[in-house]
Symmetry: C2
Subunit: 344 residues, 2 copies
């Protein structure tokens, strides 16, 4: 593996305790490179950072309109959520509006990412279902798309048969999703490395340069056919209107978009990936940390890039600076260090 530069450092006792290497690309909708660090032409798995690209067919197909999906539900289709009650309720409603239920989901079940929700459930004697999976919104979107594709004439049995296996690359639903990924990234996925994601759908290895291009296209609509451009605009607006749904309590994406609204669309992915669309600047951003640590490094780098690329007032700059250089506290609440972006 290539050697990328250090982009974030964890400090303790006046010295660097740990460091995170990585690469990032900032690109405009023409594909012109605005800035970068490290190897941006090495294909990486974007994982959940591209959920907004995977949700484009849900809107473009007419499925979202047909089933009356709300802003909150469309935001959830782009989410890696904490499994909080608002998230699971919205996922269940999406499925109900399409005439199906949790049985249609093929993402698997896990306890909510948010520990408070996990303990609340345990206190009530509940166990998790596929609705609590952090990807349940995306999967509910896939299922809605499938229900739409199955057509009006499909009875319950044939609908179930059509939906089954929607996570597989060759299923008509996933073909639409992959086509949107290809159209937006402009990267030929036919020969790309393919892995299986945590929620069982395929993930295709794409260079950061192309991921950033896709998000510049999402930011501006340029380079996308009209249907996809409109879908991108609709999804950005939905997430800006309902930023809690895309992540959850205290999470970076939710905090940033609650504060900066439609000026930033950012989305985390597993294994240290982050993507963002910056409509005012007309730029797309894609980050991959070499060590795959999403909770550390990745977020401070994204915050530092937002600080550079987005026009912010003084208060907003202070807010973002606090996300790019984070105080680390121990179990007694004592500040023991900091985690900070180190872009230069």
């Amino acid at each position: 593996m290539h050697s990328n530069p250090i982009l974030a450092q964890a400090w303790r006792g006046g010295i660097v305790e740990s460091a995170h290497r990585g690469a990032y690309a900032v690109v405009d909708a023409d594909g012109t490179l605005h800035s970068s660090a490290g190897d941006i032409d090495h294909p990486i798995f974007p994982r959940s950072a591209v959920k907004v690209l995977q949700a484009l067919p849900l809107v473009d197909s007419g499925a979202a309109e047909r089933f009356g999906l709300t802003d909150a539900q469309l935001a959830l289709a782009c989410a890696s959520h904490g499994g909080e009650p608002a998230h699971t309720t919205a996922a269940a409603a999406m499925l109900a509006q399409a005439g199906v239920d949790v049985q249609a989901l093929e993402c698997g079940a896990h306890w909510p990412y948010r520990d408070v929700t996990q303990r609340d459930m345990a206190a009530r004697g509940e166990t998790p279902t596929a609705l609590h999976n952090n990807c349940s919104g995306k999967h509910s979107g896939f299922v809605c798309l499938g229900c739409h594709m199955a057509g009006d004439g499909a009875d319950r049995g044939s609908l179930r048969g059509f939906l089954r296996g929607y996570v597989r690359p060759e299923h008509p639903v996933m073909r639409e999703v992959t086509a949107a990924l290809q159209a937006s990234t402009g990267f030929d996925l036919a020969d790309a490395a393919v892995g299986t994601d945590g929620c069982s759908i395929p993930t295709y290895a794409v260079p950061l340069r192309h991921l950033a291009l896709a998000f510049a296209r999402v930011a501006t609509g340029q380079g996308l056919r009209p249907g996809l451009a409109a879908a991108a605009r609709r999804l950005r607006a939905a997430v800006a209107a309902a930023p809690f749904m895309v992540a959850g309590t205290g999470r970076f994406d939710t905090r940033v978009m609650e504060r900066l609204g439609a000026r930033v669309f950012c989305k985390v992915g597993a294994e240290g990936v982050y993507c963002a669309a910056l409509p005012e600047a007309g730029l797309g951003v894609a980050i991959k940390m070499d060590d795959g640590n999403t909770a550390r490094g990745c977020e401070v780098v994204m915050a530092a890039l937002i600080a550079r690329l987005v026009r912010l007032d003084d208060a907003e700059q202070g807010f973002i600076a606090g996300l790019a250089d984070v105080q680390l506290q121990n179990w007694n609440g004592i500040t023991v260090g900091r985690l900070a972006a180190a872009l230069d």
Copy 2:
């Protein structure tokens, strides 16, 4: 920061998805280097990986014998435990045997690391105390040492006064702990960088070469004065007899020592640190992963080094190989990749 080699890789879809850089030193009790990778002379914070060194005064002072500490309790004094019932019960008993209670602990409270225990507590309406802190055994050991140092004549009030602030570097208890760290590592801590650990005690930056030396001394007793050598032997025997207490259900240290017994003493630390004493080979091992990720990278590297350095039968080799090259499964139980040591 120096550029250390890649020591572990995460694979997905046939390509390397993420990689972990780091350094390790393997040293004998004379300080002769057996093998290494990366920069082993750069000081790093050993964090919880040196709990066994910090527990030496507990035994050496006579406190452990005086308060009748069991194998399980001595193992807990070296532990980063999951907060399971056996752990918290043992910590409470240590304190009771010394005539104090949980109020004496200064480590802070957090929910148990083990999620099942956390949910069980939530279901019973319980909230965490300092006993659930993963460091409560180490701190109970400090408190036992303090009660011993306070002497027989101390009444409850003066004992409480003496114990207060035992986490601070200048407290008589912490001075003993630091002296044991200095004696075992042979590294001058007077000028070392000092940070505050998660549980509020000081952590001193020590090069991997010296940490490995300390663990070779723990493994053999060579290079330690007789009292410390005997204490090291006692603590190793205690952990070998009660490996569950040093970590917990499903955890690497517990699994390895349950299987390999007294032939390996290994201990994880925060921020990607691992140390081990290998008595048969007379070697000490110290690892630091650059990215500070303890859950990933660190363990497979330790497993690969144990496979190299410890004489194992075929079944044991298979067991350790499974810890050095771990299959990664997703929420549907599908194998999606692997995490593997890459030492060569």
